[in-house]
């Protein structure tokens, strides 16, 4: 490991590959169990509520609210230095599951728990497009 440090790129596996394929198409997938009507994230081969195998993929609305947030002022590695400071947030999707993400386009002073957000996508490599979030208001065209 000499020279440039790389970002911590996600390596997909058979269970999660459909999620990352959908991100490349700017779609946010979670899972839905048709047996017990439960949504879940991260992807698993079973429903964590009723243990039914093979929950369905479901395209989430991509909207939710901030459950908690922090501004990282010392980057996790030099690869993240150019985006520092950056906001790490826990997003509660409208469907129910929580996911961690970066919150973009949001001034520190306007950050607050409960704020509405929506997903955006950013290509980090040919294989990986990351789901990130912005304030929902910023979506108004």
């Amino acid at each position: 490991m000499t020279g440039t440090v790389q970002k911590f790129m996600p390596a997909s596996n058979p269970e999660t590959a459909p999620f990352w394929e959908a991100c490349r198409e700017q779609r946010l997938l979670i899972q839905h169990c048709s047996h017990c009507d439960q949504y879940q994230f991260y992807p698993r081969m079973l429903c964590v509520n009723c243990m039914q195998a093979n929950p369905d993929w479901y395209q989430a609305s991509g909207r939710g609210k901030v459950k908690s947030w922090t501004v990282v002022r010392t980057p996790v590695s030099p690869a993240y230095a150019d985006m520092t400071p950056y906001v790490i947030a826990l997003i509660e999707l409208d469907e129910g599951p929580t996911m961690m993400s970066q919150l973009r386009d949001c001034a520190d002073s306007s950050l607050q728990s409960g704020m509405r957000v929506k997903v955006v996508f950013e290509a980090w490599s040919e294989q990986i497009t990351m789901p990130l979030f912005i304030p929902a208001e910023a979506d108004i065209v």
Binding site: V5, P10, Y42, K67, S68, T70, V76
Partner: protein, 389 residues
Amino acid sequence: MATLRGKVAIVGAADTRVGIVPEFNAIGLCADAALKAMADAGIDKSQIDGLVTCNSMTEPHFYAAEVLAEYLQIFPSYCVSTSAGGGTTYTSLLQAAMAIEQGLCNTVLLVLGDCLRSGLSREQALRMQSSTGHREFEIPHGPTVPAYYALIARAHMDRYGTTAEQLAAVAVEARQHAARNPAAQKRDPITIADVLNSRMIADPLHLLDCSLVSDGGAAVILTSADRAADFPKPPVYILGAGEGHGHEHISAARSLTTSAAVESGQRAFKMAGLRAADIDVAGIYDCFTPVVLIELEDLGFCAKGEAGAFVAAGETSLQGSLPMNTHGGLLSHCHPGNPGAMFALTEMVTQLREAAGERQVLNAETALVHAQGGIMSSHATLILGRENQ
């Protein structure tokens, strides 16, 4: 139901020098701690037939316990390496106690050591930052270890009105305790303003809300209660033990403000037949200031949302209702990673032996230690006492 209550005792306990200890690598710290604990127990290695340890971050081995047994030339009948992050110490102790109670071994050396301050390479430091968190769904976004804990701090503030000053009070109190402990890494007094004016690491956590990065090791010797009187120092008995496991990744937590310390605490108190009010002195895992508040609440020392005011009112000082982390804790004594919680354990042994000098809690008969690993993920609680009835 059979219970471990009072069946196992700590008969030896010792720390290495802590802080910046460049003369030892991780296994050297373990060996130094082991020698000192055996001396404290008045035994030599021929009497050790159980060895419990945890992998180090600076010198990871596939078979960490076997490497240490070989290094010390100990040939145990029970030999295990445990990994539960910061909670490893008490989880390991519980396993050692069960092995003794089941007759698998008589005398266990529980020893942990690591040198995060002096021995970590840049590559290892980077890997350590990314060792916690979900590899696909958390780590790529770039959270640091303080950032994960900042998320729970913010949630506690939002839900209960906890303030940055109350978080800072945890760090100030830790430093006041450390000032009485010559072994502590940081002993210069700090104020609330010092904490709030220290560099912001991950809002709302400042540098002084974060624990130290240290070298250090510690060890305890455990044996069955019926053999405990044969050792020179007053035994400290395990009265209660419990674990709780809520999640691994913070984004999958059932709650950001209530942890599985609720379950681990209830299980330990039930085994001990005691209540929070019966505890004279406590060791509460303090890797970051908000962790202390959630643990104090979840263990029942105060109601949910009230720990900030509890600490700010001085209740965890030497004169308070619950003297806490009298050695200085991870915030001011030392934090070498996985061994971190060992020092609260050895401090509670020192307190229950009434050997803590100017930081002695008067009439300390019952102690509680609690630790967590991951991001409020794996919790373990022990209740210790001078008497085993």
